[in-house]
């Protein structure tokens, strides 16, 4: 079958999110294999200049309105559901992100179409889109197939490579009037609250020593700091560490933290919940140390050590020290 995929682009503060490219790349690959079109849908305000980065798409639908300047669920649902109803694409790709989590299920309900979440893989067969979802904290996979009509797939960040979707090109541009009626909306974006700046930017660090629950105490974070120093990197963490106020939120890797792509990601005592993994799975080299041999982190790591981090950290530091001297 000839496929038709809509990719809902995401942008924040004037920048397209990686998620957009990850979805575009996969859609492009499927379209190239099977024939068909990839349409990027870009809703926002004064975002036309982002169009040129969306070269992986065949077509771009641009919907601009002041009400769409920043994401608020209702106006976005309104314009996108109208568009999908009218154009009836085979598959709509939405990110499993802060924006997509509000959008996809609502669209599916309004349009009464199937929707599959936590998608980690996607393929096309003769008459079906085949979606693989990662559920139950990464312990179970479900493979589902949708045949007729429109379906929505909510894609896990990091499931596909962003590079594949970062292509220059000139998709055919179609501008659609939003036709929004502000009086219909019972919500609006008010303002941003930005995290306190001044801390290091872990997305720029070439090496990250990342700690999870296994670090046990706030004091022990100093051990990770020492190791990071020996490696010439910085310390990041999973969510529980930030929730404990042991590290600032700027150090958090994962769904509600940063997505990082360091050259080395050393995961210490991190079990590897899907929310964390999506923020680091694209690191060049992943080494995980955990006492639990069944920890999901070992399925994304390149190298795994089943051991106590408090044994490995000092030994590693010592070894690194020897090399320097």
């Amino acid at each position: 079958m000839s496929i038709s995929i809509f990719v809902i682009a995401e942008h924040l503060e004037g920048t397209l999110a990686d998620m957009t490219f990850e979805m575009l790349g996969k859609a492009r690959q499927l379209a190239d294999e099977r024939g068909g079109t990839v349409t990027a849908v870009l809703a926002g305000y004064n975002v036309a200049q982002l169009a040129e980065q969306l070269g992986a798409a065949d077509a771009l639908i641009l919907i601009e309105d002041e009400l769409l300047a920043e994401f608020a669920p209702q106006p976005y649902q309104d314009v996108i559901s109208g568009l999908i109803r009218e154009r009836a694409p085979g598959l709509v790709m939405v990110g499993s992100t802060s924006m997509g989590l509000d959008l996809a299920a609502a669209l599916a309900t309004t349009l009464n179409v199937p929707m599959l979440s936590s998608c980690i893989d996607l393929s096309v067969e003769d008459d079906a889109y085949v979606v693989t979802s990662q559920l139950y904290g990464g312990k179970i996979m479900m493979e589902t197939a949708v045949t007729a009509g429109t379906a929505i797939a909510q894609i896990l960040p990091g499931a596909f490579r962003a590079e594949d979707g970062q292509r220059a090109g000139t998709p055919t541009l179609e501008e659609i009037p939003p036709g929004l009626h502000p009086e219909n909306f019972r919500m609006r974006f008010e303002n941003f609250i930005k995290p306190e700046a001044g801390d290091i930017d872990i997305t720029q660090a070439p090496i990250l020593v990342s700690v999870g629950r296994g670090i046990q105490t706030q004091e022990n974070i100093a051990l990770a700091e020492e190791l990071a120093e020996a490696l010439g990197g910085s310390v990041s963490s999973s969510r529980p560490i930030v929730d404990q106020d042991w590290l600032p939120v700027t150090r958090q890797v994962g769904k509600s933290g940063m997505s990082v792509k360091p050259r080395l990601y050393l995961a210490l005592g991190i079990s590897g919940a899907p929310e964390h993994v999506e923020g680091m799975k694209n690191a060049d080299l992943i080494v995980a140390v955990n006492t639990d041999p069944d920890a999901p982190i070992f399925s994304v790591a390149h190298y795994g050590v089943v051991a106590d981090i408090f044994d490995v950290m000092p030994a590693l530091e010592e070894r690194l020290g020897e090399r320097v001297s």
Binding site: A106, K139, I193, P195, F298, V312
Partner: protein
């Protein structure tokens, strides 16, 4: 201010999950259910709102596994009303569950519905978003903070984005909110209080027939990810492990 909190029972991941014989679903015979972690945050947030502004908190549970303990725990935390909906709900999708919740909410008088932003078994997406779309009221998810103005019936929701960035979305009530985390993590409830609640609190019982619309997709295969993954496991004494790691780092040009 009447707040409804939806508590969903999900399989306890501590247990080994079994797949049924034809490989299309989990085997739920021996499954142990616990309340979804995000829903516990939703409940905590509801209690915090109640403590600040007054009102009532209703905790709602579909009968999936043993739910009475979950409801009594909610009462011990401070929920005023407990509702259990009886029916054949094991393995229910978030889409079908949303219809059951919507039915209950239409008959009730709620200003605010709080639910976890997602659950680990939501193949059909977050129930909150589906519920709000059915009720045609606002929904905002991934929320980790809020400020309620009961006078005007407006709530300012702090929605999380990566890297600690938040946006504030002003929403009129009634609304559904998907909680990422409560302002304060859920507090511990001692067993004595749960037992006390189980003696004093009453569970209102309702029944519902889950409507099972054709889902529009077919489940082909349910399987476990390949064990061990792709990590190459390094064994040995800490010194040996350290030596091996450093040589790997060096191969990748990470250390001199």
């Amino acid at each position: 201010m009447n707040i409804l909190v939806i508590l969903k029972q999900v399989p306890d991941l501590v247990e080994e999950l079994e797949i049924n014989d034809d490989g299309t679903d989990l085997d739920r015979t021996w499954m142990r259910y616990i309340p979804s972690e995000y829903d516990e945050h939703a409940l905590e947030q509801a209690i915090l709102l109640k403590e600040e502004h007054g009102g009532t908190v209703t905790a709602l549970c579909l009968r999936i596994g043993e739910v009475d303990d979950t409801l009594f725990t909610a009462a011990a935390r401070g929920a005023d009303r407990l509702v259990r909906i009886e029916g054949d709900f094991e393995g229910i999708s978030s889409r079908d569950a949303a219809a059951v919740y919507a039915d209950h909410i239409r008959r009730g008088n709620y200003d605010l519905v709080l639910t976890g932003v997602q659950a680990h078994d939501d193949l059909n997406g977050p129930v909150g978003a589906r519920l709000a779309a059915q009720l045609e009221i606002p929904y905002v998810g991934v929320v980790s903070g809020m400020h309620l103005d009961p006078e005007t019936g407006v709530i300012h929701l702090h929605k999380e984005y990566p890297g600690g960035l938040l946006t504030v979305i002003r929403t009129e009530l009634p609304a559904v909110v998907g909680i990422q985390s409560a302002v304060k993590p859920p507090r511990y409830v001692p067993i004595a209080k749960i037992r006390q609640a189980s003696k004093s609190a009453e569970i209102g019982e309702e029944t519902a027939e889950p409507q099972s619309l054709t889902p529009g997709y077919t489940v082909r295969r349910v399987f476990k990810p390949e064990g061990g993954g792709r990590a190459e496991i390094i064994d040995g004494a800490p010194e040996d492990i350290a030596a091996r790691l450093v040589s790997i780092f060096s191969e990748h040009g990470l250390v001199r």
